[in-house]
Subunit: 203 residues, 2 copies
C-alpha cells in the first residue's frame, strides 16, 4: 500500500526542489493538502507565472521579467563600474553591503568543462562586447573564491583586449570578526600575501 496516485505524483514533483528528499517531500505534500490548499494553489500559480515570464535582463543577465532590470535602468548608478558575479544571489549579497554604486554582470555559473559549461553559456562574449563599447572604466571580478571561480576570473582577464582597462579581483583574506586560529591555511596565505600598508610613506 502507498498513497493515492495523485499524492504520489505530487510527492515526486516536490523532490525537484533542492534539499528536499523523500521524507520532506511527503511532509510537504501532506501539509499542503491537509492544512493549506490555498497556499498550494497560489504556489502553483507563482511557479507558472515565474516560469513563463521571468527571463534574463538583456544588460546584466540577472533574472528579471523586464527586458532591462530595475538596477540596470537606474540612472543614479555608476555605469562605468562593472562587477562580474556568478549568480543573482551574489548580486543581492553585494547590494546588501550598501557600499557598491556600480552595475553588475551575472554569469549564471562558472566555467566547468566537466558539466559542459563553457564561455558561451556564461555570456562572456556579451561581456567582452560591452567592454569594447568603452563605457566601462573598471571591471571588478567577483566570482567565488573557489577553484572554478578563480579559473573563470582568470579566463575573463585573459580575454580582455584593452590593455588600459582597470581590472580588479575582490580581496581574499581573513573574514572580519574571525580569529586567525580558526582560519584555514589557504585563506591565511592569501591574507598575508595581500597585506596592506598602514603607513603611506612605506608603501
Amino acid at each position: 500500500m502507498s498513497f493515492s496516485p495523485l499524492l504520489q505524483q505530487l510527492i515526486q514533483a516536490l523532490r525537484c526542489l533542492p534539499g528536499v528528499g523523500p521524507k520532506s517531500a511527503q511532509r510537504m505534500a501532506l501539509h499542503l493538502l491537509e492544512r493549506d490548499r490555498q497556499a498550494a494553489l497560489s504556489l502553483a500559480q507563482s511557479l507558472q507565472e515565474a516560469c513563463e515570464r521571468v527571463g534574463q535582463c538583456q544588460s546584466c543577465r540577472t533574472l528579471s521579467e523586464e527586458p532591462i532590470c530595475a538596477l540596470c535602468a537606474d540612472e543614479q548608478r555608476d555605469h562605468s563600474l562593472l562587477c562580474v558575479l556568478e549568480s543573482p544571489v551574489d548580486m543581492l549579497a553585494v547590494e546588501q553591503t550598501g557600499g557598491y554604486q556600480g552595475v553588475y554582470f551575472v554569469l549564471g555559473g562558472h566555467l566547468s568543462p566537466i558539466d559542459g559549461i563553457g564561455p558561451e553559456d556564461l555570456g562572456i562574449r556579451q561581456l567582452l562586447q560591452r567592454l569594447q563599447q568603452g563605457e566601462i572604466r573598471e571591471l571588478i571580478l567577483a566570482t567565488n573564491p573557489t577553484v572554478e571561480g578563480e579559473a573563470t576570473a582568470h579566463y575573463i582577464l585573459e580575454q580582455i583586449e584593452d590593455p588600459h582597462l582597470k581590472v580588479s579581483r575582490i580581496a581574499h583574506g581573513v573574514p572580519v570578526g574571525g580569529e586567525l586560529e580558526f582560519v584555514d591555511g589557504g585563506t591565511l596565505a592569501h591574507a598575508l600575501a595581500g597585506r596592506r600598508s598602514l603607513r603611506k610613506e612605506i608603501s
Copy 2:
C-alpha cells in the same frame, strides 16, 4: 535593491512549505528558474491537480482522489479490525510494518482546544457511527504517544457506548534495538508497567 517582483512573489509563495525559511525559499526559486523550469512547471501542475482532485476517503478519511480509497475497497483486508490514527503518514508507517491486515480510520490530527480543533474536526462522530453499525470487532487506538494523542485516545474511549467492544491502545515501551541507558524516564516507566510475562503458567 531586491529581486524582481515575480521572483519575490515566488520566494514568498515557497515559504508556505513546512521547514522552508527565507534563505531556502530563495535558493529553491533561483534553482528552479535558472536550472529546471520543466520541473517547476510540472510541480505547478501537480499542485493544482492534487488540490482540485484529492479529497478524503468517505470510509477512512485518508487523502484520496477516489470516493473510497484503495485500501478500504480491498476485500482481502479484515474489515472487523479498525485502527485509529492521527495522520495518513501514520497509516503508511503501519502498512510498512507489513503485519497489520485490518482497516484504518484517519482522524487528521488530535484534540487541541488551543488551536480550536474539537471532536467534530476529527470525524469522531463518523467513527462512532461506524462502530454502531456493529461490523467492528476490535478498535485499536494508535494515536501518537504524546499528551494530545493520549487525550484524544481517552476521549474516543469515553464516547464508545458498546461496553462489549474490544478496545486496545498500542503498547508503549523501549524501542526495539534501543539501550535502556538512553531511554527517557516516562518511556521506561511505561515499559515496566506494561511488562509481559514470559511464562504462561505465571501470567
